[in-house]
């Protein structure tokens, strides 16, 4: 009974996927959305049920089905685990998922393939649930690749535009590079420990005597490479900004709130492994901090509203990884949750704006939307305050904890993160001012078209904005630390839980964080409100701004360093190697043909000659035999 109920969690979205896939075309344009939303809401209800249950029992629910892959030594079972960590993620995934489904019913209602859209979304939820409830690395990998697949399908949802398809393909392939790392890490662990089950691995690693620690480090590094791909860290981040080609709800759900946090989820899940290898942890922290700053610096020069948000996501993910690198798993988890709230809200808000603008995404064509789009503006404002780290919004608390952890471990990384936060506050307020303040800069036709979005779209915005405001309550720095206590059973070495009452350093850092956010706000205000500056048109951008606007030319560099050589190799193989291989085989045939030109001269057709040769041959054979 338990099993069936847990499985319902997976079956609901999968059924929604199947119905919409197979019968969607016959159901018109509203029914698919309702079915999909119902399916996700059902999963949310089940998650909520288990969440409430685990609050009282503290015992994880485990479901073991059948063996999925069998090796000679051991097998990987279809095991699902609902413990504190996975339930938390489930709530975020299905909760925000349900909201975004509701939003999508409004956003996508005019699209002819709305049924396909919702079936993909449901499939995504299915794989995401599989990812977070997985009881071992193998099953997690199913979800891991599955969400990548859905991401591919949804980025390329408007398949008639080939540049969107390119973005989808790029996302999938870059993810797969990371996935190779994930697999190699999995193999190493399987080989070393004889299992890939999380609990069993944790048990095996509790005593690492006799285990090759260097190899273990390689395994951790490989797993982190997987996380780099999925969570868009340097050097595998370039797919995420391109992924904005997908419909905006997809960007909100997959590329901001849920899928991209899978890397953080996995590292948290495997905390028992990462805790053993401080070198890899340091590496994670450095990669995270550098990514945070790097992406934020690109973010300040972008003019596409979704691109800014995308780089902001990369940057925030970097902050989370930095926290992971310091072993502050609960902090990273906290930031994942608050980030999911405010970033989903921001994306949906930008979707609402784009909807009103009739598909226009360039902020240089916006402005003054405050007057027409009241709800969107207020929710966007709240989320901006939250992400910038202005108290008492949710983002402030989570970001502050990250800074605190950074300050305790590494001052340089703290400085980098602080700079990234400053930039974050700047570019977020820049978006806010450019979009909602001053006068409208678009065409008259667009101006005429401007309208507040329908209820189905504003309602999720309001809910998310409320969450982005109060989400910080789950882990306050003033002693009430619900999240830390809640996560204690799943994260073995939970740092900083005991001494989490604030000392003076804590208060000072909090003040510094707030000050940084306010400076960012001030800079943006002075530039875009006081001076009414508007970003320049493409051809007028010069200097370092141009480098930033072109994202440090990383895409071009990758193209030259990786893509072009591959094509060059393909040409080389096709035109040279293949010809040589074929020719060397045919050379045997040719050689024999050439030989035959000479040997066939013997067959001149003269019977007399044949007989002569025959007699000579016979005599010589006899002669030879006599000699012997």
């Amino acid at each position: 009974m338990e099993t069936v109920f847990v499985l319902l969690l997976l079956i609901c979205p999968f059924t929604g996927f199947l119905i919409n896939l197979l019968a969607g075309k016959k159901m018109g344009r509203t029914l698919p959305g309702i079915i999909a939303t119902t399916a996700v809401s059902a999963s949310f209800a089940i998650s909520l049920f288990y969440f409430i249950q685990i609050l009282s029992t503290n015992a994880p629910v485990e479901v073991r089905l059948f063996d999925w892959v069998t090796f000679g030594e051991f097998s990987i079972g279809f095991d699902l685990v609902l413990d504190q960590l996975s339930l938390l993620w489930l709530l975020v995934v299905t909760g925000i998922g349900a909201l975004i489904h509701v939003y999508s019913t409004g956003y996508m209602k005019d699209d002819e393939n709305v049924d396909r859209f919702f079936s993909y979304l449901n499939l995504f939820i299915f794989f995401m649930i599989l990812l977070v409830t997985a009881g071992n690395l193998g099953i997690m990998f199913i979800g891991w690749e599955g969400v990548g697949l859905c991401s591919y399908l949804l980025i390329g949802f408007w398949y008639k535009n080939q540049s969107y398809n390119d973005a989808a393909k790029k996302a999938f392939i870059m993810n797969r590079i990371g996935d190779l790392g994930f697999l190699v890490g999995l193999f190493i662990l399987a080989y070393l420990l004889g299992t890939v089950d999380f609990r069993a691995m944790s048990f095996e690693l509790s005593d690492i005597y006799g285990i090759d620690k260097k190899l273990l480090g390689v395994a951790a590094l490989c797993l982190f490479v997987g996380a780099m791909g999925k969570s868009a860290q340097i050097p595998l981040y370039t797919w995420l900004p391109d992924a904005m080609a997908g419909p905006t709800p997809v960007s909100a759900l997959i590329h901001a709130a849920t899928m991209v946090t899978a890397g953080i989820f996995m590292v948290t899940r495997m905390s028992f492994l990462f805790d053993l290898i401080p070198d890899v942890q340091t590496f994670i922290a450095i990669v995270g901090a550098v990514t945070a700053l790097f992406a934020a610096s690109i973010g300040i020069a972008q003019t596409d509203i979704k691109k800014v948000l995308a780089y902001s996501t990369v940057s925030q993910l970097g902050l989370m990884f930095m926290a992971l690198g310091f072993g502050a798993y609960h902090v990273a988890v906290f930031h994942v949750i608050t980030h999911a709230f405010f970033k989903a809200c921001l994306f949906l808000g930008s979707g609402s704006v784009i909807h009103a603008m009739g598909g226009e995404q360039d902020m240089r064509r916006m402005g003054g939307l405050k007057k027409v789009m009241g709800v969107t503006f207020v929710t966007f404002l709240i989320s901006t305050l939250s992400i910038s780290g202005i108290p008492p919004f949710a983002g402030f608390f989570s970001k502050d904890e990250i800074m605190l952890a950074a300050f305790e471990h590494n001052k340089i990384l703290w400085a980098i993160a602080a700079l990234a936060s400053l930039l974050t506050a700047f570019y977020m307020f820049r978006v806010l001012f450019l979009t909602f303040y001053k006068d409208f800069r678009g065409t008259a036709e667009q101006k005429h078209h401007l309208h507040e979005s329908p209820k189905s779209m504003t309602m999720p915005l309001i809910v998310l904005a409320i969450l982005a405001t109060v989400g910080g309550l789950i882990s306050l720095p003033f002693g009430f630390n619900w999240l830390n206590g809640y996560l204690q059973p799943v994260i073995l070495n939970l740092q900083g839980v005991e001494h989490h009452s604030l000392d003076s350093t804590g208060w000072i850092l909090m003040g510094v964080s707030t000050a940084i956010a306010l400076i960012g706000f001030g800079l943006a205000y002075s530039k875009y409100i006081s001076k009414s500056a508007v970003p320049q048109e493409d051809d007028k951008i010069g200097g370092f701004a141009k480098v930033l606007y072109n994202k440090y030319y990383i895409d071009e560099i990758y193209n030259t360093v990786f893509i072009k050589p591959i094509y060059a190799m393909a040409d080389f193989f096709k035109n040279v190697v293949e010809k040589i291989v074929a020719a060397s085989v045919l050379a045997f045939g040719k050689g024999i043909a050439i030989l035959s030109v000479y040997t066939k001269a013997l067959h001149n057709g003269s019977v007399g000659f044949y007989l002569f040769v025959f007699v000579i041959g016979f005599c010589s054979v006899v002669f030879c035999l006599l000699l012997i």
Binding site: K600, L602, H603, N604, G605, S606, V607, G608, L611, F612, V615
Partner: protein, 106 residues
């Protein structure tokens, strides 16, 4: 019978048959006419048959002579076939000169 063999000596028989055989071989090698070549082949066969018969007597075993009879019967049949082929060739190209029969050229 044995007297004759003893009087003449087996060696002479062998020389004779080798001589006959060589005549046949030379005939095949140096004559152009297919009929003559066929006759030369018969000559070689006859020499071999003679040798068979001689050794049969020498070994006091009749089976060799039986074999000779068979062999001659087959040879007769073969000649019939061979001549028939030659007639067919002659009808087609008006000659049995082997220099002109070069259609088997590779």
């Amino acid at each position: 019978m044995s007297n004759i063999l003893q009087e003449i000596g087996i060696n002479n028989y062998i020389y004779l048959s080798v001589l006959l055989f060589c005549v046949g071989v030379l005939g095949i090698l140096f004559r152009r006419s297919a009929i003559v070549m066929l006759m030369s082949v018969e000559l070689m066969l006859a020499s071999a048959n003679m040798l068979l018969a001689v050794f049969s007597v020498y070994h006091q075993d009749a089976s060799g002579q039986v074999f000779v009879v068979f062999s001659m019967a087959v040879a007769a049949a073969e000649v019939a076939v061979g001549l028939a082929i030659l007639v067919a060739i002659f009808r087609n190209i008006g000659s049995i000169d082997i220099e002109k029969l070069k259609n088997l050229k590779g």
